[in-house]
């Protein structure tokens, strides 16, 4: 598979993967959950891909939601989901893949604060498969928000 080896060859994740960020931007911008996408700092130097989620899909108590995606040439990544709530609280979590000293390379920062970390398994590390998993999880989160109204 296109999954890079588990042992890191170097001590870092390499530069941002421009091609994967562009690929993900193309899919994100046509996703029904997403209102707007942007590259940071800009499309000529893509380092971070931002997806602004459609607030109309959320109950009124959620004022904004976004997805920040970093993808590195080593196949490592960080996908950060943040919800802002009316009462000023944040609800956030992060799908991460990078070497660290206490969890598996692939791990998950649990909501609501993204502080507690658990090991994570995914069926595939292909960017589009990771994207599908994350967006499906967010869709389920939105359903939970509605049903807890």
């Amino acid at each position: 598979m296109s999954q890079p080896p588990e042992a890191p060859a170097s001590h870092s994740t390499g530069p941002p993967d421009r091609q994967t960020l562009r690929l993900l931007e193309r899919h994100l911008s046509s996703d029904s959950l997403v209102a707007e996408t942007a590259f940071d700092p800009d499309s000529y130097e893509p380092r971070l891909l931002r997806g602004l989620l459609d607030a109309g899909r959320y109950p009124d108590t959620a004022t904004a939601a976004r997805l920040d995606i970093r993808w590195f040439t080593t196949g490592d990544f960080s996908v950060h989901y943040v919800e802002e709530h009316e009462n000023g609280e944040r609800w956030e979590c992060r799908w991460d893949r990078h070497p660290n000293t206490h969890n598996t390379r692939l791990h998950f920062h649990e909501p609501p604060s993204a502080i507690k970390i658990t090991d994570l398994e995914l069926p595939s590390l292909h960017p589009l498969e990771v994207y599908s998993t994350v967006l499906t999880a967010i869709e389920q989160r939105i359903e939970t928000l509605w049903s807890s109204q």
Binding site: S12, D31, P111, L128, S132, T133
Partner: protein
């Protein structure tokens, strides 16, 4: 509130990204995310098509320069063609930005590079050890900083290529 599942299995067989694309589009998108030689059978699985269809489209993408093929391998393997895609990026920059804008951007990036060099006290980002440093957020911050530094170095090279293309009217080699 039910517990959040970070890796839900989708009920429908079609994965979210596959909606509205034909077989060629799916094979194209899959190979753009493939960075090491991968069997066409596996690409077929990811693209949700038959191995024969995947191979046909992958061979076409290889002819176009977008994919790299290793047909001697059994089964044949494919991955995206990094060099071609870099040239395409540079070519787009050369078309869309003026030479002055490109030079401006390189100057800004060179300043950023100098800042990273003094922050990490070296000129080579690959020598910085990112992952042995304390708590997770600390690792994360360093990881992003070193990655962006490497991105800065790469982008300077990319703009250099774009400048050459621009000066040679889109050609790599002067007429």
């Amino acid at each position: 509130m039910t517990e959040f599942d970070p890796a839900p299995t989708s009920d429908d067989t079609q994965h979210r990204w596959q909606t509205g694309t034909d077989t060629f589009g799916r094979v194209y998108d899959v190979v753009l995310g493939v960075t090491s030689p991968t069997a066409y059978t596996e690409i077929a699985e990811l693209a949700d098509c038959s191995p024969n269809a995947a191979k046909k489209h992958l061979d076409r993408l290889a002819e176009m320069g977008i994919a790299r093929a290793d047909r001697d391998s059994r089964p044949a393997t494919y991955e995206r063609n990094e060099g071609y895609l870099e040239w395409q990026d540079a070519s787009r920059i050369a078309t869309e930005l003026s030479i002055e804008a490109i030079i401006d951007r390189v100057e800004t990036l060179e300043t950023q590079r100098t800042e990273y060099e003094s922050q990490f006290e070296t000129t080579d980002p690959t020598t910085v050890n990112v992952f042995d440093h304390g708590d997770h957020e600390n690792i994360h911050e360093r990881m992003i900083a070193v990655s962006e530094w490497q991105g800065v170095i790469r982008d300077i090279r990319l703009y250099e290529l774009a400048r050459q293309l621009s000066q040679n009217d889109g050609h790599l080699i002067p007429a």
